[in-house]
Structures are given as structure tokens and as C-alpha cells.
């Protein structure tokens, strides 16, 4: 019994060393955390005042999506990297595999621990991330949210891709065109607590109260959790439960593609239409097949681009991040922080068969 415990101890020690450095060598496209030329790592006494970001570039920002692998967020990352080149800063793209608040918090905790210079977050849960957001800001790390906000006291600024009310209105308007002004419509959303989703659904419901949409009847709201399979099943479920459903509105890129595929598989193209927010590459096939004749979106690349510029503006002290501050965002021109602490990217663009081919994201 004795000697085998020594044998075990040596083997396991090896194992941990392997796992630990194995981890460091994982080929995730993350450059080695540059030895921040800022104040050397705080040993014992935690330095309270915000670390002065060295003016000479080298700022180490992190773009945190809801979950990795999602084409929408990948496109936002390309925009963010473009902004990084222009500003001469480094932007790492890190996220959890599941669109889940717990894992996002653990990731953010370790990023705060690494004393990064700025965080651009698309939040999985507006309230659960407030304590983490506060913690980052206390540690002198500016927090900018984009696409999906953290509640105000957990962030500096929120970049709204398009004014929520506008997004809600355009989707109902598209649904009405497709349904010919009357019939049953349903909403397939992402996760049940995604702040942006609930905001848009709220405005959609308001829009529906307008007289011109009196013929439309919202029969159900279901949740696909930004997972392809779940969204697909929920869409199939909707079509079975409501045989004479006319339109499915999916204000999420994952949901809209899955619904379009579900419509095709249930061979109800032409009978049930799909609209909402989707990326051209993803929806090109369904626009051509007629399952999703038109949908709207904004360019997520611009969203990523603007998020990094805003973050850099705050980090370098160019702006304080208070309402009323204005700053230049490279190719997108100047932006001013509205009094509710948000910045508006711009109106959504509507894609349809005729203009889908001039976009590639």
C-alpha cells in the first residue's frame, strides 16, 4: 500500500503540471497575456485608484460575446479587430461555450483578476452581471456593454445596435407585409432572460396595439436559448400547435435560421413565413427559397467596431463615459452618449432577395 501512494503522488503531480501548462498552450486564438507594462502585478496591497492606461497604446481589451461559435458574434469580432488595428490596441475574443450567466461571470472574474484594461460585454443576464460589472469598475476597468446590456449600475456605457423601439416596429411591419395584414404570428426568442430580446418583444407588443396591425394576433412566445436544436424544435412545435400560423418572428440570428429550416422541413414554405433579425450569409438560402423573403439587421461588425472605440475612449480618458460626452469612432464618425447612458449605432437595414447579395457577413 505504501509505495503505491508515492507512485501515485509523482504521477498526479506530473498530470497537474501537464494540464496547467497544457492549458496555456491551447490553440485558442488568444495571444499570450502581454506582460502588462502597467503597474507590475499588485502583490499584496491592492492598488485602489484606477490604473492609468499607458497613453502609448498597448491597451489590452477583451470582447466578451454571449457564447462562442455564434456567427453573429464572430462577425462583431471582425469589426472589433478592425478597430483594434486602427487604435493600435490588442482585443482578445473570449467567451463561454454556453449562453449562460454563471460561466460568463466566472470568465469575467478571471479577466478582472488579470487586470485587463477594458471589457466589452454582451450580457447573458442584465441583473446577474451587475455585481461583476461593479467589481470591474471598482478595479478601474471600464465596462462597455453592446448588443445586450447589463443594468445601468453595472456598466459605464451601453451601445444599442438600433433604437429598440425601431427594431420592434420594423419587425412587426415586415411580419404584417408577409401575413397580408392579418393572421396568427408567433415569436421565437433567444434565452428567456436576454435583456435585448425582452425589450424588443415589449416594443413589438406595443406596436401590435396600433390599428393597422389589428388583424395580427400574437399567439405565442417561445424560447430557443440561442441553441440551434432547441430553436428548431420550438419552431416545429409552433407549426404543429398552430396549424394556421402565418409568420414566425425570430429576433435572433440563431432562431431565424433554425425557424426557416423548420419551415422548409415541414414543407410549409409559402404558407408560413419567417422574419426577424438574421445575417445575410446565414439567410441567403432561405431568402432564395422563399421561406424568409425579408428580414432586418444591422451590421454586427460595425457594432463590434463602435464598442472598441467607445471602450478605448473611456480607457484613455478621452471621455468620462457620462451622458453628453462625444467622441470620434473612426470610420463611423462621431457619437454622443444619450442621457440614458446609451449610444445608438443607427437604424436597422432590411434585407430581401434584391439586396442580399451585396452583403457578406
Amino acid at each position: 500500500m505504501k509505495k503505491h501512494l508515492l507512485f501515485l503522488f509523482v504521477a498526479l503531480a506530473l498530470l497537474t503540471v501537464l494540464a496547467a501548462c497544457g492549458g496555456a498552450a491551447t490553440p485558442t486564438a488568444v495571444p499570450e497575456p502581454t506582460e502588462a507594462p502597467l503597474a507590475e502585478p499588485t502583490e499584496a496591497a491592492p492598488v485602489e485608484e484606477p490604473t492609468e492606461a499607458a497613453a502609448a497604446g498597448g491597451g489590452n481589451y477583451v470582447l466578451v460575446p454571449k457564447n462562442l461559435g455564434n456567427p453573429y458574434f464572430d462577425t462583431a469580432n471582425t469589426g472589433a479587430q478592425e478597430a483594434a488595428q486602427e487604435l493600435g490596441v490588442t482585443v482578445t475574443y473570449q467567451g463561454s461555450s454556453v449562453a449562460d450567466a454563471t460561466e460568463q461571470i466566472q470568465l469575467l472574474n478571471s479577466l478582472i483578476a488579470q487586470n485587463v484594461d477594458g471589457l466589452a460585454i454582451s450580457a447573458n443576464d442584465a441583473d446577474a452581471l451587475v455585481p461583476t460589472g461593479k467589481e470591474a469598475m471598482d478595479a478601474g476597468i471600464p465596462v462597455v456593454t453592446w448588443d445586450s446590456a447589463i443594468a445601468p449600475d453595472g456598466r459605464d456605457v451601453h451601445i444599442n445596435q438600433a433604437e429598440s423601439q425601431g427594431i420592434g416596429a420594423v419587425q412587426i411591419q415586415m411580419a404584417s407585409d408577409l401575413a397580408g395584414g392579418e393572421g396568427q404570428i408567433a415569436i421565437l426568442s433567444a434565452t428567456s432572460t436576454a435583456p435585448n430580446q425582452n425589450e424588443w418583444i415589449g416594443y413589438m407588443e406595443e406596436e401590435l396595439k396600433k390599428p393597422e396591425y389589428s388583424g395580427l394576433e400574437l399567439v405565442a412566445t417561445v424560447y430557443g436559448d440561442d441553441e440551434d436544436e432547441k430553436s428548431y424544435n420550438e419552431a416545429m412545435g409552433l407549426m404543429q400547435t398552430y396549424p394556421d400560423l402565418k409568420v414566425i418572428i425570430a429576433p435572433t440570428t440563431v432562431g431565424i435560421a433554425a425557424s426557416a429550416r423548420a419551415v422548409q422541413d415541414a414543407d410549409k414554405v409559402g404558407q408560413v413565413f419567417v422574419t426577424g433579425l438574421g445575417t445575410p450569409n446565414q439567410m441567403r438560402e432561405y431568402v432564395k427559397s422563399g421561406a424568409a423573403p425579408q428580414f432586418a439587421l444591422w451590421n454586427p461588425a460595425d457594432l463590434g467596431y463602435l464598442a472598441i472605440y467607445t471602450l478605448n475612449a473611456i480607457a484613455t480618458g478621452e471621455i468620462a463615459g457620462e451622458p453628453g460626452d462625444t467622441f470620434e469612432a473612426g470610420k463611423l464618425g462621431s457619437y454622443t452618449i444619450a442621457d440614458d447612458g446609451t449610444i445608438l449605432l443607427g437604424p436597422p437595414t432590411v434585407f430581401s432577395a434584391d439586396n442580399i447579395d451585396d452583403f457578406d457577413f
Partner: protein
């Protein structure tokens, strides 16, 4: 139906006949459920719905059959969901990288990779003497971690997949979608293997009385190793069908699916202590779970109560199952009935 039993014994009480055909009690359970649902929403009783239920449970049947074989030998395989996730990602990457690869080749590759992952379980459990629940709990998180390590987090989306691969699951050249045909074929093959081949019968013997199996010259260690390889192989096959049906391979594909396969087996009458379980039982168990999920959506009961219904069903099945077995013991024990 395995070995029918022409009972020339004295006439037995209804209880005993019910017990002999455990599958009978599941069928009654299903009919009751369909009856209730049909009353509530008559639209339920259509071929269309029946086809959809079959579509939903095909993958569950394939993997639950592998899980059954493992449970019969008194083991359990919690790693099947991660094997599905890993094989789905690897095969999808391969198919996207080499569009020339035929869907059939993709299926074979999936089965090979699944079998290898299953064989790792086999080695750890038989040679390493690690209890099955701990071994497969370990490989559950190891294989799931490897999915992310492999893909670096990127997904394979439907527009990147070659058409043949996407059509594999849903195309219905023979009337029914392929995926249902695969499930039926696997069920038949497993039925023949378990009931008509020596290694198949050895699985039951090892699960029923391992010591007696040893004395009878049955290769117990080899049989145990074999069931984990088969479980992995079937999970590999299911992985390719999964990627094809949902036209995507994500890092969290099939997360948490393993407990569904155990539920289908337990509800299907597979004895958790090993030794007994039938292909028909597992198919019916999966069908019962599938009908529950489908009925809840149909009856507009909020989908949120679906999981609760499934959990309650497993509990009820287990309680009824043990009550039957205990009554059997008491009857058996007292000699003649």
C-alpha cells in the same frame, strides 16, 4: 419479442402474465396517455404527429439501446452525450474540409471514432477496475472538454455543410425519413445480436450472475469491454445523424442527453441491478418519453412542465417496477404458487 413462453404450467394469475410481458404494462401506459391527449386535443391522432414523435425519438432509441446493454451488465455509461458532441464535431469538420466524403463514409467514420472513445471507457473499467459510474463520469467531462479543445469554440453551421451530409438524416427516399429507418435497422440488429448470438447471450449471463458466468467459462472481462465499445459505436452513429438532422455541430451539442438515455432504459423495464432488459422495452420506453414531450407541446401545457413530467414518470416507473419484482420474490420464494 424474445422467447415467447407457452405456459403449460397451471394457469397463472393475471399478475404473473402481466409481469412476464413487462412490455405489456408500458404499452398500456402509452395507450392510456394517448387516450387522455386525444380527448384533450383530437388533432393529436394523425399519422403526421406519429411520424414526428418517431423522428424525435430515433436518436434516443439508438443511444438508449447501447445504454441498455451496459446497464444489463450492472454498469452505466454517462459519457454517451459527450461522445455524441465530440464525434458530431469531428465528423462535421471532416465533411466540411473534404466535401467529397460520402455521407455513408461519414457514418462509418462516426462509428469508428465512437467505438474508440467507448473502448477507452472499456479499458478504464475492465483493466483499470474503476467503477463504471466514476469512469464514465470522468470521460463525460474529458470528452466534452475535448470538443472545445478540438473546435476552438467555433460551430459548424448548416450553410457550411455539404448538401448530401445535411440530407442524410431527413431525406425520405423510402417514404420515412432516413433517421427513423436507421433507428429501426439498429433496433433489429441489436435484437438479433442480443437474442441470437453467443456474445449477446453472454451479456445477459454476466449481468444476471457474474460468478456463475465465470465458472461457466464465459469471458466476463471481454464481455464487459465489448458493451462499452458498442455503446460508444452507437453514440458515434447517433452523433452523425444528430449533426445531420439539426444541421449544426456546436460545443454543447447533446449536453445532458445521457440521463435521458438512462431514463428511456429504466422506463423501458431494464433492471438497474442488471441481468434483464429487452429491445422492445427500450423502444417503448423512448416512445413513451417522446409521446409525453409531444403531448405537452400539443396541449399547450407550458413546455416548462415537460421536464417535471419526465422526472415523475421515471420515479413512477421505478416504484412500479420494484413493487412487481418484490411481489415476484415473495411469490417465487414460497415455492409453488
Amino acid at each position: 419479442m424474445n422467447t415467447t413462453a407457452p405456459t403449460n404450467q397451471k394457469s397463472r394469475s393475471l399478475f404473473l402474465t402481466l409481469v412476464r410481458f413487462r412490455e405489456l404494462s408500458i404499452i398500456i401506459f402509452i395507450l392510456l396517455l394517448i387516450g387522455v391527449v386525444a380527448l384533450n386535443t383530437p388533432a393529436f391522432l394523425t399519422i403526421e404527429n406519429f411520424r414526428n414523435i418517431l423522428l424525435n425519438i430515433s436518436i434516443l432509441v439508438i443511444v438508449a439501446l447501447g445504454q441498455m446493454m451496459v446497464i444489463i451488465t450492472r454498469g452505466i455509461d454517462l459519457s454517451v452525450s459527450s461522445i455524441i458532441g465530440l464525434v458530431a464535431m469531428m465528423v462535421s469538420f471532416t465533411v466540411v474540409a473534404f466535401p467529397g466524403v460520402s455521407p455513408l463514409a461519414a457514418l462509418l467514420l462516426g462509428m469508428l471514432l465512437g467505438a474508440i472513445l467507448g473502448s477507452f471507457n472499456g479499458v478504464i473499467i475492465t483493466a483499470g477496475k474503476v467503477p463504471p459510474i466514476i469512469a464514465t463520469l470522468g470521460t463525460l467531462s474529458i470528452y466534452r472538454g475535448m470538443v472545445f479543445l478540438y473546435s476552438g469554440g467555433t460551430w459548424i453551421n448548416s450553410f457550411e455543410m455539404p448538401d448530401g451530409y445535411r440530407a442524410l438524416a431527413k431525406a425520405s427516399p423510402l417514404g420515412l425519413p432516413n433517421i427513423i429507418l436507421f433507428a429501426i435497422a439498429i433496433a433489429i440488429i441489436v435484437y438479433i445480436f442480443l437474442n441470437h448470438t453467443r456474445p449477446g447471450r453472454d451479456i445477459y449471463a454476466v449481468g444476471s450472475n457474474p460468478d456463475a458466468a465465470n465458472v461457466a467459462g464465459i469471458p466476463v472481462q471481454r464481455t464487459l469491454f465489448m458493451v462499452y465499445v458498442i455503446s460508444g459505436l452507437l453514440a458515434g452513429l447517433a452523433a452523425v445523424l444528430w449533426a445531420s438532422r439539426f444541421e449544426s455541430a456546436q460545443t454543447n451539442t447533446a449536453l445532458g442527453f445521457e440521463l435521458q438515455t438512462v431514463a428511456a432504459a429504466v422506463v423501458g423495464g431494464v433492471n438497474i441491478f442488471g441481468g434483464s432488459g429487452s429491445v422492445i422495452g427500450v423502444v417503448l420506453g423512448a416512445f413513451l418519453l417522446g409521446t409525453i414531450d409531444y403531448a405537452l407541446i400539443l396541449m399547450q401545457i407550458s413546455p416548462f412542465w415537460q421536464l417535471a413530467a419526465q422526472g415523475l414518470l421515471i420515479l413512477v416507473a421505478v416504484i412500479v417496477d420494484s413493487a412487481i419484482r418484490r411481489r415476484l420474490q415473495r411469490l417465487g420464494g414460497a415455492g409453488e404458487f
